[in-house]
Structures are given as C-alpha cells and as structure tokens.
C-alpha cells in the first residue's frame, strides 16, 4: 500500500466535520438501540431526524438556547411520551371532543408557548411569533436575542443539511 499521504486539510474543529461525526454517531446509537423495535420507515425516518437534530444540538452544546431546548426535548422524550400517553388516556374518556393535542403537547418546551401573543415592538407580531415557533427555545427572548438565535440556528441547520446531503449522495452512489 502506498504510504499514507498527508490528509487533505481537514479542520477537525470545523462545524461540518463535527456535525458529520456526531450525526453518524447518533444514527448509530439510535439504530442499535432500537434495532429490535419497530423499524417501519416512518419510525426510522423519525429517528434519523431526531439523530440529526440531536447531533446538531450536541455539537453546539449549551452555548445556545435553541440547542439547549432541543437537547432538553430529546432527552426528555421518554418522559414526555409517557406524559402524553397518560394524558391521552386520562383525557380521552372524559372529553371526547377536546383536542388532545393540547394536552399531549403541553409539556414540550417548544409547545409551552404555542399561541402566546408577544407584544411586538416591530409591529409585525405574526412574523415574530412564527419565528419563535420555528426556532426552538426562542420563546423567552426579546427581539434582539431572537435574531441572534435565528442566525445561529440557520447556520447550524444549513450545515446539517449539507452533511445529510453528502451522506445521501454517498449512499446513493452505491
């Protein structure tokens, strides 16, 4: 075998590399953990999506509110799911008409402020509210912080999408 060449300049600290590594790691974990459980496509894709978000949040760590919110959501998925099931069971017999979605989602951080109306200094309340819904963990910030979080979130999201695209390309070439 030819002697190992100098590796292409790979910055081990670059966001992309870290994301890729983390994503694959999470994928692996998810797959191994749930290999025996339902492996329907939907569940699998959902798991992959979770892995993607988890890896994204993990790489960023606790520096950002959105990453913290995502991590919290994922780590408490089991607990939240249990609550959801319990609530669902409790509420179903009592109220048939009521939307269970409200009770089901009430403990997730992203849904903690689903319809809260924010007094918008901009005047475009609809947009800010929408943005807050999209960016996790941004419900408790003012407009300035919201823009900051959005910028960081967009950056990481774009990188994650790129990583996943590369992965898909890799697989699809086969």
């Amino acid at each position: 075998m030819s002697p190992p060449q100098q590796p292409t300049s790979i910055n081990p600290n670059s966001l992309k590399i870290q994301l890729a590594y983390r994503f694959l790691h999470n994928l692996n974990n998810l797959n191994t953990k749930r290999s025996n459980l339902d492996n329907t496509r939907i569940r699998r894709s959902h798991r992959v999506k979770l892995a993607a978000y988890a890896s994204m949040a993990y790489v960023v760590g606790s520096r950002r509110a959105w990453s913290r919110a995502i991590l919290w959501k994922i780590r408490n998925r089991a607990v939240l799911a249990r609550f959801k099931r319990v609530d669902h069971k409790i509420t179903t017999p009592l109220r048939h008409h009521h939307v269970h979605a409200g009770s089901v989602k009430r403990r997730t951080p992203s849904c903690s402020n689903p319809k809260r109306e924010y007094s918008d200094p901009f005047g475009n309340s609809g947009q800010e509210v929408k943005l807050r819904k999209l960016v996790p963990g941004s419900s408790t910030m003012d407009a300035l912080g919201l823009l900051d979080e959005t910028a960081d979130y967009i950056k990481c999201l774009a990188t994650q999408v790129e990583v996943m695209k590369n992965l898909v390309d890799l697989y699809s070439i086969i």
Binding site: P7, H25, H46, L131, L134
Partner: protein, 470 residues
C-alpha cells in the same frame, strides 16, 4: 442673572412674569395683563429672538379669561402661559430655535426650569399641560411651569431652596439620566403613572389642582424614578436613581406636567439637561425632530431625545443583526425592510427544516433495516469517507465505483469492504476515524462482520490498525 432677578421679584407676587423673563429672556410687551406685565421681562427678553413674536402675541392676549382658577394670579398666568407655550411650541417646531440657543440663553434659567420646585402649584401645571399639547418643544416649558408655580408660591425661599438642590443632584443623576433616556420603558412607565395622575387633573382643568394631584404627581414621579433606576442598564442606576428621584421630586412634578403636556419632549429635554451637559450634542439633536405630538395623555418615554436615543440604539442593533441574517439567508441581498427580511428568514428556516426531514427519510430508506449493525459499521466507515468526501470528492470516486461494481452486495458491506481497500486518503480518514472506530466498531464488527468479509476486517480490528491487507 435672570435667576436672581427671578427670585428677587417674588416679593412682587409676580413670580410668573419673572420666570417668564428668566426663562424666555424675551421682551414682552408691556401690554401684558396685570400679572404678566413686568418690567423684568424686558431685561431678559433679548435672549431668544424667536420667542419674541410669540411671546408678544401671547402676552398681548387677554389673560383674564380664566376664572375657574382659584388663584387669580395663576389663572391669568395659566392662560398666558398656555398660549405662550403654544406659541413657543409652534416656534420650536419650526426648528428655528436651536435648543442650544435656548439653552445657552437661558442656561441658568434652564437648569432652574428643569429643576423647578415641586411646590409649584399643580393648577398651573395642568393649565400649562393642557396648552402644552400643542407644543412639541418644551425645554421652555419647565420655565413656564416654574413660573406658574412660582406665582403660587409666594415665598422666595421656596424657590431658592428648590433651586439649589436642583443643580446638585444633576451631576449625580447625570449618569442615570444619561441612561434613563435610553430606556423607553421607564418613560412609558412613568408616563403611565403620570398619565394617571395627570388625567385626574386634566378633567379638573386648571382649577382642579389640588395638593393631592401634586402628591400624585410626586408619587408618580417617585415611582417613575425608581423604575428608571432599576431599568437603567448603566452602572450608576439605582443609587443615582434614588438620589435623583428624591432630589428631583420637585422638578419631576413640574417636568412631569410638562412632559405629559409636551409629549415627553420636555421630559427628554429635561433629562438631557439633567444629564448635565454630558451630551450637549444630543440635546441639540434630540429636539430637532419632534416626532411626538403633545398629548394630554401622552405616554412618558416618548420624548424625542431620550426615547429616540434608546430607540435609535435598539434599532441599530436590530438592523445590524438583520444584515448578518441577510448574509446567511441566500438571496436576500436585495431585500430591504424588516418585514420582508423576516418573511424570507421564516421561509428559509422552514425550508431547511423540511429539508432535514426529507433527507432523514431518504437516509432511513437507504439503509435497509436488516443491517443495523452494518449500518453502525458503515456509519463509521462512511464517516471517514465522508471526511474525505466533503473535502475531496475524487478520493471517493474510485472506491465508490468499486462498490458499485459489487452491485448486489449489501451496499453497507461493500462500502466497508471498499473502505478497507481505499488508498492513502482513505486511510488518513480512517486514521482520523480510528479513534472512534476502536471501541464501538470492534463489538459491532465482531457480530456483524462474521458474515461478511469478517476475517479481513477482523484482523484489522484485532490489530487495531486500519490498514487492511487483503
């Protein structure tokens, strides 16, 4: 000194006229009705020319119309003052008057105006406030109010006492005020308080001013000052706020009245004055665009200067971040305006999230579920290859083609197999990945690889080296 003259003439019971003199420094015609006619006026009139016409016109108008005012003097004064204020406001709005000139001309009186003693009768404040609505600019207002108040306060000592403490706290409160102006919330808070207190008074009209209203004013003032102190982002907030609050109480009442009437402009101006002359430029700049019209119930914190200052800073920050976001979101360079940009950003975030979902579905479909372990292995492998892929697609081209040739084989296994065959670049990637390969992969490989190309990799794993010799 106008100030001296101002105080000295109190004995005449014509405090207001004196105040007028000191404040405006304008030459009023002697036609001014009784309470206003004052020889002192002529002395200080020459300072501000723009006011001359206004003052003269106002002064000449009959002042005795106010009958409701309990204090005869104040009644007339109120009317005249109101009109004067109105005219002044008009003049000020025209922008002819530079705050500097007004300030400089009446520097001493200005400070005194802003520091007008709280003991000034609320009646006058109300009347002035009512009339003050039409006046956007109001750095003169405190003078007017002061004069009005002075008229009520017959004792010179009151003025003197009130005035002295005023300058002193100014420097202390400067810092706070300098920041106060930056905090619109405080102003709004205060304005709300003032509103409540003022609203009570307004219906009463000029006549209704009671000590209660005054106290409410002061209370509102206090409350206002305190939150301001808390809200101030700067260092010297609380302490200076309290100090300034206590000291500025008398001023506040006056200034409050003025502010409410002048739509915070006076407030802002007052604040700036209190800031001392830390930001003389700002003082001049702030009153320039009197955005807020004077309302009786104008909310505090909408003064053009301090409020606009804070708002300006905030707007700049937001626009800075919007620019940064523009760089992130592709195709937003031409867009202008926050609303459009926000829409674009929202769309972009939504599209990114949908992409993640779509790609995750694709990934889930690509990896057959039967090869979980292989997936794990492959994940490691692909990670290494991905490292290269991202940096150099060519490195993988060959191995991938080889894999493609394998065809029916499990893509994962073939990838793994191929991965082992990769050349240096891959090995380098492997080298990097070896760290995490070791632990997880070994267990996985031992189970999963038993079926496929086990020995080759096994050997590799066993040795802990990525170099595979086939």
């Amino acid at each position: 000194m106008e100030k001296d003259g101002f105080f000295n003439n109190e004995g005449n019971g014509m405090g207001i006229p004196q105040a007028w003199n000191s404040i405006f420094g304008m030459e009023l015609e002697t036609q001014v009705p009784n309470c206003f006619v004052n020889s002192n006026w002529d002395n200080s009139m020459d300072q501000s020319d723009p006011f001359e016409s206004a003052l003269s016109s106002i002064v000449s108008s009959p002042v005795n119309s106010h009958s409701g005012i309990p204090n005869s003097n104040s009644g007339g004064e109120n009317m005249v003052l109101k009109e004067l204020i109105g005219r002044l406001g008009i003049i000020c709005n025209s922008g002819d008057i530079s705050p500097q000139s007004c300030i400089v001309g009446n520097s001493s009186s200005n400070t005194s105006c802003y520091n007008t003693p709280l003991n000034s009768p609320p009646n006058l404040n109300l009347s002035i406030i009512d009339h003050g609505n039409s006046i956007p600019r109001n750095h003169q207002f405190p003078h007017m109010v002061e004069s009005g108040k002075l008229s009520r306060v017959s004792s010179n000592q009151s003025f003197k006492t009130t005035e002295f403490p005023i300058p002193i706290p100014i420097p202390a409160s400067d810092k706070k005020l300098s920041r106060l102006s930056l905090i619109p919330d405080n102003k709004e808070l205060d304005s709300s308080m003032e509103e409540s207190s003022l609203s009570e008074q307004y219906p009463n009209g000029e006549t209704g001013i009671k000590s209660q209203s005054q106290s409410t004013y002061s209370n509102g003032r206090k409350r206002k000052v305190i939150p301001k102190g808390n809200g101030i982002e700067t260092h010297s907030s609380t302490l200076s706020a309290k100090d300034s609050k206590a000291v500025e109480e008398p001023e506040k009442e006056v200034s409050d009245a003025k502010r409410s009437k002048s739509g915070e402009e006076g407030n802002g101006i007052e604040k700036e004055k209190e800031e001392g002359n830390l930001k003389p430029t700002k003082e001049n700049a702030k009153p320039e665009p009197p955005k807020d019209y004077i309302h009786v119930r104008a909310r505090r914190g909408q003064a053009t200067d301090s409020h606009s200052l804070a708002e300006r800073v905030r707007r700049e920050k937001i626009s800075e971040r919007m620019k940064f976001l523009q760089d992130l979101v592709p195709g937003c360079n031409k867009l202008t305006g926050k609303a459009v940009m926000l829409d674009e950003i929202i769309n972009y975030v939504q599209s990114l999230q949908r992409q993640v979902e779509f790609l995750s579905m694709k990934l889930a479909n690509i990896n057959p579920r039967t090869d979980m372990n292989m997936e794990a292995v492959l994940s490691k492998d692909t990670h290494a290859s991905m490292l290269n892929t991202m940096n150099n697609m060519d490195a993988l081209a060959q191995p991938l083609y080889v894999m493609a040739h394998n065809g029916p084989q499990n893509p994962l296994t073939s990838m793994m197999h191929h991965g082992s065959n990769m050349k240096s670049s891959q090995i380098d990637g492997f080298g990097e990945a070896s760290a995490f390969w070791g632990n997880d992969l070994q267990s996985v490989v031992q189970t999963g690889f038993s079926q496929n190309h086990g020995p080759s990799f096994y050997g590799t794993m066993g040795t802990g080296q990525m170099k595979v010799e086939l």
